[in-house]
Symmetry: none
Subunit: 228 residues, 4 copies
C-alpha cells in the first residue's frame, strides 16, 4: 500500500460524497486565492486527501475550476429561478433578473471574475457546459422580453440578443471596478437605472404624429358634418 504508517489514507467514500468534499475544498481555496495562486496541494490538504486523489475525480486543475464554477452556477440559477417564478409583469421580472445578477456579483466577485477571465476568454468556452449554463441563465431574460413583445408591451423590431448583451454587458462593465476590488457599486440603484433604460429602449413607439394628425382631421370633418 502506498501509505506510511501513521498516515491513515482517507476513508473510502462513495464517489459522490468524495466529489462533494473535494469541490467544497476547492471552492474555498479558489475563493481565497484565485486560480493561479491556488495550489493543488492546498486543496488536497484542505480536503484531507492526497494530491493524487484529486486526479481520480478531476482531469486537472483547470477542470476542477470549471466543475467548481459550474456547481456554483447551477445552485445560483436554481435559487434564482425559484424566486423568479413568483414574479409577474414584464418590468418586475426584468428588474428582478437585473438586480439578481448584480447581487451575484456583489456576493461572489471572485468567482465572477474567474468566470469572466479564466473561462469566458478561453478558446474552448463555447462548447463548455458553463457556456450552456450561461445561455440558460440569460434565456430567462430573453424569454421575458419575448413575452413582452408578444403582449405588445415591447416593440418587435429589436434584435433580442443585443438587448441581452446590453443588459449583461452594462452590468459587467459597470462592476469591473468592484470585481477588481477597487470600487463599490449600489445594487439597487443600478438595477433601477438599467431596468428603466432597457424598458425605455424597448417601449412600443408612440403612434406616429402624422397619421394621428390625419385621423384627427378626418374625425373633425366628420364631427363638423354631423353636428352641422
Amino acid at each position: 500500500m502506498g501509505h506510511k504508517p501513521g498516515h491513515r489514507p482517507a476513508a473510502r467514500l462513495p464517489r459522490e460524497t468524495r466529489i462533494a468534499e473535494l469541490m467544497a475544498a476547492a471552492r474555498q481555496v479558489f475563493r481565497d486565492k484565485g486560480y493561479d495562486d491556488a495550489s493543488i496541494a492546498e486543496i488536497a490538504l484542505r480536503a484531507g486527501v492526497g494530491e493524487g486523489t484529486l486526479y481520480r475525480y478531476f482531469e486537472n486543475k483547470h477542470d476542477l475550476l470549471i466543475k467548481v464554477l459550474e456547481d456554483w452556477y447551477v445552485g445560483m440559477i436554481e435559487d434564482d429561478d425559484r424566486q423568479l417564478r413568483a414574479l409577474q409583469g414584464t418590468r418586475d421580472r426584468l428588474h428582478y433578473l437585473i438586480r439578481s445578477h448584480l447581487a451575484v456579483i456583489w456576493r461572489e466577485p471572485v468567482f465572477c471574475r474567474l468566470v469572466l477571465v479564466e473561462l469566458r476568454a478561453a478558446a474552448d468556452y463555447r462548447g463548455s457546459a458553463l457556456f450552456q449554463l450561461n445561455r440558460a441563465y440569460a434565456r430567462r431574460t430573453l424569454d421575458t422580453i419575448q413575452e413582452a413583445v408578444q403582449l405588445g408591451e415591447f416593440r418587435a423590431d429589436v434584435p433580442l440578443s443585443l438587448v441581452r448583451d446590453m443588459i449583461y454587458g452594462c452590468i459587467e462593465h459597470h462592476t469591473w471596478g468592484y470585481l477588481r476590488g477597487d470600487a463599490e457599486f449600489a445594487v439597487d440603484g443600478v438595477a433601477e437605472a438599467i431596468t428603466d433604460m432597457i424598458c425605455r429602449a424597448l417601449a412600443v413607439p408612440a403612434p406616429r404624429p402624422d397619421a394621428l394628425a390625419a385621423a384627427i382631421e378626418r374625425l373633425e370633418a366628420l364631427t363638423q358634418r354631423l353636428s352641422g
Copy 2:
C-alpha cells in the same frame, strides 16, 4: 559581460528609434502569440537585438506589453478623433463612436482581448496609464451625450456613466465570441442596432402637442353630445 567577439552588436540607435523598433517587434509577436506564448527571446530576435537590450527600455515583459498596448491605443484614439471632428449631429457622432469601437475590435481582436484580460482585470488597472487612456476614449461618448442633453435631444434624467457602460458593455459582450475566435459579427449592423437602442432609450418623451390636446377635447365634447 559585454558583447562576445563574433556577434557584432546591433547598431547604436537613438533612444526613441530603438524603442520604436522594439515596440514594433513586440507588437508583432504579441499579436501572433498572445502574451504568455510570446517570449522575450523571440521579440529580441525579431528586433535584431540581444535580450538584454529590451530590459534597458522596459522594466519587464509585462511592462513591455503595457507599453505596446498603450502605444496602440494612443494611435487609435488619434485616428479616431480626427474623423470624429468632422461629424455633426448627435446620432451621427454616436453612431460613429459605436461603429468605430466595433471596427477596432474587428481589426485587432488579439490586442482587445489582451487589454480586457491581461490589463483591465489586473489589480493595478486603475492607476495605470491605460485606464486614463480609456477614460479619454470613453469621454468623447459621454460628451456627445451630454451635449445632446443640453440641446434637449436627450432626456436629462439618465446616469451618464451607465449609458457609457451600456454602450461599451454591450459591444464587448456582443463580440466575445469574435474575440475568442469562434464567432463573427457584423460591424455595421450591430452599430446601427446599438445606436438605435441607445437613442431610443435616451429620447425625450414625445410631448403631447397642444393641437392634439385641443382636438381630443373637442372630439370628446362632441362624443358627449352625440351620445347624450
Copy 3:
C-alpha cells in the same frame, strides 16, 4: 508536469533517507566547488534525482547550504563532546578544545570558510540555527574557564566572552591563510602556544611581594633566635 516517459523516476524513498542522500550529495559538491560555483543541477545529478526533488526538501539553494553546514556542525560537536568528556583538568580540557577547533579547520577548510563568509556575515545569522549551534560549541570553552575560576585556578575578573573571542578569534585570524588556501599551519604547535597564552592571561596573580617579604623577615628573625 509529471515525469517524462523514458526517464524512470528515482526510487521512492522515505523522507529521511532521501534527505540524507541529498545532503550527502550537496555536501560533496559544496566541498568541491564552494557555494557560488555549485549548481543545483550538479547536486541533483549526483544525488540521482531530478532538480525539482531538491526543492521538495529544501527551500532553495541557500537553505540547502545552511542545512548541510548545520548537519556537519552537529556531527562535529557530537564527536568532539565524546572526547572532551574523558578529559580532566583545566589546561587539558582547554588545550583539547583549542586543538580540536584547529583540527576542524585543518580537515574542513572549505566548510569553515563557508560558515565564516556565507553564513556568519549574513544579516540573519543571529537567529539562525547555526548561531545557536555555535553558541553551544563555544559554551564548552566558557564552562571550562568558569569552572577554573571557581576552583581558584583562574582569576575571576576577566570578561568571559572576551576570553572566548580571544581564543576563537585568534584561531580564526591565524588560519585565514590556510582557509584561503595559500598557507599552512601547525595544529599542535599553535594549539600549545594559544593554550599557554590563555592560561597565562588568566592565571591568578602571584601573591603580593610585600606580604611575602614580611613573612620571610619574620621567619629569618625566628631562625636567628633558634640557631642563636
Copy 4:
C-alpha cells in the same frame, strides 16, 4: 563624438582629480549599498560621468572596490600613526592600537565588513596591496611588543604573530554582531579589557628576587641543621 546634444560630456579633468572624484563617488555608494548592491551605473551617475569612464581608470568593479578600500585604509593608518607617535610606554601604545582598531570598526562597519568578506577571503588576497597595508598596520603592534620584549617588559618566549592574531582576532570576533548590524559594543571597555589580558599574557614571570633566593637558602640550611 559619442555624446548626444544636451548631454555635455564631463569636463576633461587631470587624471588624479578625476580618479579622486570617482573614488569619492564609489566610496559613498559602497558605504550605502555594500558591494553586490552597488551598481556601476549608480557610481558613474553620482560621479557625473558615463559608465565607460570608470573603466578608463579602474579595471573593473572589484578593482574599484579594492582601490577605494586601499585609499580608505591608507588615510586611516596615516591618521593613526600621527597619534601613535606621541605615545610612550608599552601599555599606552598597545592600548592605543587596540582602541583605535575598535574605533575604526565603530566608525566604518561597512568597509570593515567589505575588507573581511570581500577581500580577505578572496584567493588573491595575499599578493594584494591591501594585504601589504594590513601588514604595515599590524606591524606597529608587533613592533611595540617586540620593543617591550627587548626592554624586558614582556617575556621573549611567545610567538609574536600569534599575539597579533590574538589581538586582532579577538577584536574581530567580538565585533561581528556590530558588523552585521545586530549588536553594539563599547569601544573603551573592550579596549581596556583586551589590553589587560594581552599584557598579562605577556608579562614576564615575576623574577624571584635575589633577596628571596638568599633567604630561602638560609632557611633551608637551617632546616637542615635543626632536623639533622
